[in-house]
């Protein structure tokens, strides 16, 4: 009895094997074997940061397009792109290392709370009918749409300050958080290996007095930073300063001069190196 069963199973196995062989022959899809290999080199996060629906499609595009201009995987970074470039024998566009920064530093103790919000926890929803529960209509809602959008756990709402904090190690600069933020507070900025960067931690476009009244950390558009900057990297439009990351030489003169502490520097010595990026400039 037992022998019969084993024999039967073997026969089924052999028949099925032949059938599968012929099916595989008949319906074989001819595709570029490079696709799979390039895909394997990519991080496989399928985050969509490159603008393609997943790593597979991006890999196909990399193989198919004659030049690699405008194609960059920020998750894998320069290392991955170099590897793919040498593999495909194509020149890879060089791109600076980037990291997300949050251009709002109005934590609970700095911004005046005007109302209690009881609706659903979604910034996109609450922005559809009001300007947030603080006096500043440009600032962070703190409801965590960016946190939900990040697949890498690189941005988290600090429960104490109610502001998002970026983990520069986990952040891949895919840009998902930036497009999820309805207040457009998140910018991808150039950084270096030690993650030293200087940026304006505010997005308030109101006049100085109004902005200051709403939040003690606001940029009041006084223009002092623009005057002190030796590299002409700072421009002030609509009472809001912007530091051009390509011109900034990280001299830190603007940080020292800012009267409201709206300009934020991260990971500069001699300050203690912290994991998060919201180290405050206070001198």
């Amino acid at each position: 009895m037992l022998v019969n069963t084993i024999l039967l199973l073997c026969i089924i196995g052999v028949i099925a094997g032949f059938a599968l062989y012929f099916v595989a022959k008949k319906f074989k899809v001819n595709e570029n074997p490079l696709y799979g290999e390039v895909e394997a080199m990519l991080p496989g996060a399928n985050c969509g940061g490159c603008g393609f629906p997943g790593c597979r499609k991006f890999g196909e595009k990399l193989v198919d397009s004659p030049t690699l201009e405008g194609l960059y995987c920020s998750v894998g970074g320069a290392e991955t792109m170099d590897k793919i470039g040498t593999f495909l024998n194509k020149t890879i566009e060089k791109k600076d290392m980037q990291v997300a920064v949050v251009k709002c530093s109005g934590s609970c103790n700095k911004r005046q709370i005007t109302s209690n919000y009881e609706g659903i926890s979604s910034c996109a929803f609450s922005v559809s009918f009001y300007a947030g529960n603080t006096a500043c209509s440009f600032g962070c809602f703190g409801l965590g749409d960016c946190e939900k959008a990040c697949q890498f756990g690189g941005i988290k709402i600090n429960p104490e300050t109610k502001l998002p904090e970026v983990d520069p190690i986990k952040c891949t600069a895919c840009g998902q958080c930036a497009s999820a933020c309805p207040q457009h507070l998140i910018e991808l900025r150039k950084t270096n290996k030690k993650d030293m960067k200087i940026y304006v931690g505010c997005s308030n476009k109101d006049k100085g007095a109004v902005a200051r009244k709403a939040c003690s950390a606001a940029c009041i558009g006084c223009g002092k930073c623009a005057k002190t900057c030796p590299n002409e990297a700072i421009t002030v439009t609509d009472f809001l300063a912007y530091i051009d990351p390509n011109k900034c030489k990280l001299c830190r003169k603007c940080v020292e001069g800012c009267p409201t502490g709206a300009i934020i520097e991260t990971n500069f010595p001699p300050r203690i190196k912290k994991e998060d990026t919201t180290t405050e400039a206070n001198n």
Partner: protein
């Protein structure tokens, strides 16, 4: 008795200020007049700082087809033109006028209370006057009336429907207006009839206002073609499309305006404003506002100059009650809670409601038990529980398939949910996403 066919709810009416006389408020020292008090393009300010204005002086010029003129509501000098936060907290261009204490009106305005019944003006002249006076839909949607009166050439208007439903709980502004200005409203209806060249008008009033129905019926009996129809009480009967269904039994096709079925709907307050604009040359610069709430000492209806700060109204009703936890501009169902009492009264503010601590807060959310009450309550016939889930997951094609864009945000689903789910919150979010997605596709 007539009403709309599907869905609807019966929130507690709480019409605390019903039957109270409309009292004019004292002239405020300052008025804050936003340039955007209507749907459409904001008006452009045509005054400069230091200019002297009278009540009824045009200070904002309409800047497009869907836009409306804005007028000064007091006499005085223009103090400042600045960006001031409106009810939503976002800053909008606002003209600030300081009162000179005299309350001088423009000479052209007839300040007498005599009833003028007929006019020799041609339909086009009447329409021009209505557009010039900056009249918008005063039920809350603030759609410029001039646009409604200019239907596309391929449609013929057969009915004028006048909305005296006031289905929002607490609010009695339209009710008190109908009691005191019934004759004027009927003349206003005659003017609209003349503009459109038709002779059928139906005034719909819910039967929780028997006194208003009687008054209006008496006033309307003098005019042929104007009919007052009592309606069964049901929220949201004041919604344009639902009122049409209730009164003439026609359903407005989805994504179409009422004009597509030959109907124009206008609020009683707007019709009264038409009367004043045409017969008294008075542009829209004041309106009736209900100030109410369960713990408010003296809930009343006031004739308020537009641009008056909400906070200025509370001393007249005995101050903000101590247990107030939320102040709503508009009715409790569709109004917006405001974060500051600095916010001015605009053309669309029909009421100010103070909610007490017990009323203001949401209850703890529980799991959906698939009872289907939201489906029963939805006046459009949508499935709110399903849309809620789809919206949470951002499933845009499915949301569109289930007609999320038809939602009128009346809140009947959230109101009827025994599990206190924030259904409307997610549906609104989903609707916004769906509309954005379809816009991008185009």
């Amino acid at each position: 008795m007539k009403t709309f066919k599907i869905g609807g709810i019966h929130p507690k009416e709480n019409k605390l200020s019903a039957g109270k006389k409309i009292e004019p408020t004292p002239i405020p020292e300052m008025v804050y007049i936003p340039m955007s008090q209507h749907i459409g393009a904001p008006a452009k300010p045509i005054v400069a700082v230091g200019d002297t204005v009278k009540a009824g002086t045009k200070i904002g010029e309409s800047s497009g087809f869907v836009s409306a003129n804005i007028f000064s509501s007091i006499s005085g000098t223009v103090e400042k033109i600045d960006n001031i936060a409106d009810a939503s907290g976002f800053k909008k261009q606002t003209v600030i006028i300081k009162s000179d204490g005299t309350d001088t009106w423009e000479e052209t305005i007839d300040r007498s209370t005599d009833l003028i019944k007929s006019t020799n003006l041609t339909p086009d002249e009447i329409k021009a006057k209505i557009i010039e006076a900056g009249i918008v839909g005063m039920g809350g949607a603030t759609f410029p009336l001039g646009v409604k009166l200019s239907p596309p050439k391929d449609v013929t208007i057969t009915h004028i429907l006048v909305n005296g439903v006031e289905c929002e709980p607490y609010l009695t502004a339209d009710h008190s207006l109908m009691l005191e200005k019934a004759e004027e409203i009927c003349v206003g209806v005659e003017l609209l009839k003349k503009v459109l060249g038709i002779n059928t008008a139906i005034i719909g009033i819910e039967n929780n206002k028997p006194d208003a129905i009687e008054k209006m019926q008496n006033a309307a009996s003098a005019y042929t073609g104007t009919q007052v129809v009592p309606l069964k009480v049901k929220y949201p009967q004041g919604s344009e499309k639902h009122l049409i269904q209730a009164l003439i039994g026609v359903e407005v096709p989805s994504r179409k305006l009422p004009a597509s079925v030959g109907v124009i709907v206008s609020n009683v307050a707007s019709v009264f404003a038409v009367y004043e604009a045409v017969m008294k040359n008075k542009p829209l610069f004041e309106r009736v506002v209900t100030v109410t709430g369960t713990s408010v000492k003296n809930p009343s209806n006031f004739l308020v100059r537009l641009g008056t700060r909400t906070g200025d109204l509370f001393p007249l009703v005995g101050g903000i009650p101590e247990d107030t936890d939320k102040i709503i501009s508009g009715g409790p169902m569709m109004g917006k809670s405001i974060s500051s009492v600095e916010i001015p009264i605009t053309k669309g503010s029909s009421g100010v409601v103070c909610m007490t601590e017990n009323e203001a807060h949401r209850k703890k959310e529980q799991n959906c038990i698939r009872c289907g009450r939201c489906v029963e309550a939805c006046p459009i016939g949508l499935e709110p529980y399903l849309l809620n889930t789809l919206a949470k997951k951002s499933m845009i094609p499915e949301l569109l398939e289930h007609n999320i864009t038809e939602c009128i945000a009346c809140g009947s689903c959230s109101f009827s949910c025994p599990a206190n789910k924030p259904l409307l919150d997610y549906i609104r979010l989903g609707k916004a996403k769906a509309i954005q997605a379809t816009m991008e596709k185009k």
